[in-house]
């Protein structure tokens, strides 16, 4: 009899350091399941970024290096160009990908680099203690928007998955969430397609994963998971660009 549920081979056995209710752990697991299913563990090169997920190398069992804050997509570009046979992916937060590193992210996507980027969007800077991030929601309270984010002074949160979808070089762009089993299944599909965009040499693969930060949202884990539904009102879930599915269909 086969075991229906196992720890992915590419997930290290280290206990997560993440806070209770944080969804990094779920996202890590999904990435590892996809790596296992695609059989790319021994040809992957991951770029970990700066933020809570900087310790990615303690959890995902593939070759990995850190990059300076925001520069993961540039580092991934260099690695992929030097070794096109490797499967190169970045795992970044919304601050790393969309604030300090947006130019590197945007340009790599525009060039159609054959890399995969996972952006965890929890609307806040978690590691530094809950400051506003580019994707902090209008009205959301953070330590640097104590009265709530006022778009008049702080501007509006950019919808990264939709923005990247407009770029010719992007082969796959989707926004997913992890606050229900169904959504988790969909998220995994999206991550797989973002990797397939690279494996099939179609272009930049991108998934924005809406995630929680109960500690900095000042919520208990259950309320935080529910609160993601509010986030979805501003950041709709969906697949905004998909060259992968038609490509795979044509193969059949």
């Amino acid at each position: 009899m086969s075991k229906p549920f196992q720890v992915p081979k590419s997930l290290k056995k280290n206990p997560f350091h993440y806070c209770p209710g944080c969804q990094h752990g779920v996202a890590h697991r999904l990435v590892c399941e996809v790596i296992d299913e695609l059989g790319i563990q021994d040809k992957s090169l991951a770029i970990s970024s700066i933020g809570c997920s900087v310790f990615l190398y303690f959890y995902i069992d593939v070759d990995m290096t850190e990059a300076p804050h925001g520069r993961a997509c540039a580092a991934a570009t260099g690695a992929k160009r030097a070794r096109p046979d490797l499967m190169v992916f970045t795992y970044q937060g919304d601050g790393d990908f969309a604030a300090i590193g947006f130019n590197e992210s945007f340009q790599a996507a525009a060039r159609g680099e054959k890399i995969t980027s996972i952006m965890i969007n929890n609307n806040i800077y978690g590691m530094t203690g809950g400051q506003a991030s580019p994707t902090t929601l209008p009205g959301q309270k953070t330590t640097t928007t104590p009265a709530g984010r006022d778009p008049e002074t702080f501007g509006y949160p950019p919808k990264i998955a939709e923005i990247l979808a407009t770029l010719e070089g992007v082969a796959y762009s989707a926004r997913v969430a992890l606050n229900s089993p169904k959504r988790i299944v969909e998220a995994k599909k999206a991550i797989k397609n973002a990797f397939l965009a690279q494996i099939k040499n179609l272009g930049f693969g991108f998934v924005e994963i809406l995630s929680t930060c109960p500690i900095n949202w000042k919520m208990d884990p259950v309320s935080a998971v529910k609160a993601v539904d509010k986030v979805i009102e501003y950041f709709p879930l969906g697949i905004f660009k998909d060259k992968v599915t038609p490509f795979l269909k044509n193969l059949k």
Partner: protein, 361 residues
Amino acid sequence: MKKDKKILAKGVEAIVFGALEAECKCYFGYPITPQNDIPELMSRELPKRGGVFLQAESELAAINMILGACATGARAMTSSSSPGISLMCESFSYLAALEFPAVVVNVMRGGPGLGGIETSQGDYFQATKGSGHGDFRFLVLAPSNAQEAYELTAKAFELAEKYRNPVMVLLDAILGQMKEPLVLKKLKIKKYPPETWALTGAKGRNSRFFRSLFLDAEELKQHNLKLMKKYQSMQKEIRYEAKIEEGDMVLVVAFGSMARLANEAIEDLRNKGYQVGYFRPITLYPFPYKPLKEIVTQAKKPLKILVPEQNCGQMVEDVKLAVEGKAEVISLPYPPSVVPFPEDLKKEIKKCLNLSKSRKV
């Protein structure tokens, strides 16, 4: 035996040929004057050899593309000029911390700020004293002619791999833009197999990771001590050129193109019977403290040391450290864009000699 090809080449072209001789595989860079010949030539030459050329969207991106490429063990190089190098400094710190063998070329121009595009040696401090945050060192090579630029650039790749540390080739715009004959010699550049350490996909081995974050105090201390030991071991790479004779009363210490002007001045003065010596550091880090100190302590007469630089006085501080107060050290600052002729240096040296004589009496 086939004779090596001799061409008339700019310093910046010599750098490209040196990199190609060392089988540099990747070049990433962003345009900035006065070093654009490097990316332009690389964009033509690298693809022919199966290499990768990519114009990055910024120096920030360029240096991190280097980081990614170096992580895979590929020979990778970037080049820029002063303001662009400043943008890369954060990542220099990461490259050193992660111990990636990057090669960086800085063709210096005048600063601070946007400065100008005229020649300068204003980035001496930046290159030798860290540039980014934390305790780290670049190995810095300062050629003074096209041939040396060719050979040192090729060597830079070997040294970068030997120490798994970034290496900088530092030159000023005069050297970058002037042309002189360059013999495209076959060079023996040692290779260090990346398979033993690099991120090549964890096939048949455990996965590897590189990090610079050590939240555990003891771990961070050990990491720093390990790096420090490495920088100490780099001392054996010290290179310099010296022309010293017994009885010299003035010693001119200069690097890069300034060393050429100084060399011309002292040769001329020596022919006229003046007792003048010359010392040119080729590695700026590690700086040749010991050889310089030995010259001073072994001198028969008290030496005066003149340090002309195309900046407001930077290397002079290392010269002072080297001589440990045993000789008078005089700074000759020439701010960016003001390049002295050898005649100007001769005047300064003579002034110095006269002072020495009068003191003797």
